[in-house]
């Protein structure tokens, strides 16, 4: 049991219902595993389906009009594709903690921060009521909120962006879940706090062997703390690679993404962007969806086909059929 990966995502397809008859594929398809105690960085194009993938793990796709159309999604031996309402309330928040991307939009606008923490803490029905306040303050201290006693009595509009985000992280870790899905938890946090949050995630992992899926656009950060990196482009996972090997990425999109980082550019200098426009959901090119923007493209990349998953090692795969030629 325990050498099974904690999460198995296999050929997962997520559709949005546009009208009664019309469906739009948003994720098509995603494949990767998360081992126990592993930190996965999920990076890639804005609009490529990272948030939808996260939502599938906490059973909130329906709130965006989406659902799992096919494929496999397994958490700790539980088939999440088939999971029903009652089962979710045992998983979401308790076994899988979630920091939503909209953390900036904030926690619940009409609930005091203290009440929200209380709700997160009392998901554990056996938690002694008399200890709730103490635990709430403890959680706020863990995420390094200053003046926790005051913040408990504030509403979200009274908090700065970074404070809201930290409150969301505090809620997500309240139950010491086995998996934390954190969708851009540190955007808008200053680097020093960012480093602290990362240290916090690392210490939770060290203590409880928690697995973490960290969605981020901050490539240096992802590189620093993640074991493996999964790269998404146009609804699909194009590469999974150990972060130590990132300089030898085997998918042209991964390389192009890293090459367009602005910390490589002199102030006011010439910026690097990926050629052309990102493909739109639903009108992806047939064959390789990066083919229209790729420097290595050949005719065989454009042949209508499901791109393969080419294994290059235990934790490394690419879907580029020309990966051997990238370094030539």
């Amino acid at each position: 049991m325990s050498d099974q990966p904690l999460v198995i995502i296999d050929a997962l397809k997520i559709d949005v219902r546009l009208t009664r008859a019309k469906r739009l594929p948003i994720v098509d398809t995603a494949t990767f595993d998360v081992k126990r105690g592993e930190i996965i960085g999920l990076i890639g194009e804005s609009g490529s389906g990272k948030t939808m993938l996260c939502r599938s793990l906490v059973g909130t796709l329906h709130r965006r009009g989406a659902y799992i159309a096919s494929g496999k999604l397994v958490f700790d031996g539980i088939d999440l594709v088939a999971a029903k309402g009652a089962q979710w309330s045992d998983i979401r928040g308790k076994q899988i903690g979630y920091v939503p991307q909209s953390a900036l939009a904030g926690p619940n606008p009409v609930m005091l921060i203290g009440a929200q923490l209380e709700e997160a803490i009392l998901q554990d029905k056996n938690f002694p009521k008399s200890k709730v306040k103490e635990r709430a303050i403890e959680l706020l201290n863990i995420v390094q909120i200053r003046r926790p006693e005051v913040v408990m009595h504030q509403y979200q509009h009274e908090l700065s962006g970074g404070m809201k985000q930290r409150v969301m992280i505090a809620c997500a870790i309240a139950q010491q879940p086995q998996l934390i899905v954190a969708d851009e938890p540190t955007t808008g946090l200053d680097v020093t706090v960012q480093a602290e949050i990362m240290r916090l995630l690392l210490s939770i992992r060290a203590e409880f062997n928690t697995s973490i899926i960290l969605v981020s656009h901050d490539l240096p950060l992802v590189n620093q703390i993640c074991d493996d990196i999964v790269v998404m482009h146009a609804g699909t996972t194009v590469e999974k690679i150990p972060s130590k090997d990132i300089t030898h990425a085997k998918h042209p999109y991964t390389r192009a993404l890293y090459d367009s980082r602005i910390d490589l550019v002199e102030p006011k200098g010439k910026l690097t962007t990926i050629n052309g426009q990102p493909p739109t959901v639903g009108s992806w090119p047939l064959g390789c969806r990066f083919s229209e923007r790729c420097d290595f493209v050949r005719d065989e990349c454009r042949v209508p086909q499901t791109m393969p998953i080419i294994s290059l090692g235990p934790d490394h795969f690419t879907s580029c059929i020309r990966y051997t030629e990238l370094d030539k």
Partner: protein
Amino acid sequence: MNILEATDVSVTFESYGQQIKAVDHVNFELPRGQTIGIVGESGSGKSTFARVLAGLQLPTNGSVSYLDKPIQSGKQTYRGALRKEVQMVFQDPYGSLNPRMKIVRAVAEAIAQHQALNKKESIEAALELLRSMGISGDDAYKYPRSLSGGQRQRASVARALSAQPSVLIADEPTSAIDQSAQSQLLGLFNNLINDGLSIVLVSHDLSVIRYLSDYVYVMKDGVFVESGKTEAIFDDPKEEYTQKLIASIPGRIL
């Protein structure tokens, strides 16, 4: 000449019986055509100060002037023709977009309001502006809730730019988009700067600040603890806090 200037500005909030001095007697100058970066730890008052500059939060003390004239008269700010000149991109893009309006319409309406274009022309201009940020025609016809975080963020930048303002106050405008889209957006800002746009850029991303800003202010506990030319701040920070900030930039990868 300074296009925007803040003199002795303070903002104090009251919450749960405590006084929170979000901004504490600060001075600030934005010379015309320049980009000023504001950095600083979470909760230090950056967004509050940015809202004061944009006229969306009245200071409890001090004043802001636009081209040497106070922006505030009575409880109002940026009256009449001045209204379009200073636009703000909010840290939370969700809150600034009308959830019931397709983003192309939201942008087109703002364009029609400020530029002499008919409906069809303003839609075309909106699509063009969105495309220049990497938002396709299909995505432009979505409601905010059907967009990804990064698409939404760019939509709110587009909405602010559609007024063709003289000053853009941008609170974390690139935090939620991928590297390539970020470069695309910064390229667009560069073009606008060449056309005379002045920018106040609040960001935690020090590489973005370094790339775009001429001058940087460092905020801590509601005050500017240090300010200077961008190179000076990055290469030779004087304050301990700034040194800590610069030192914790995650290292380069490649």
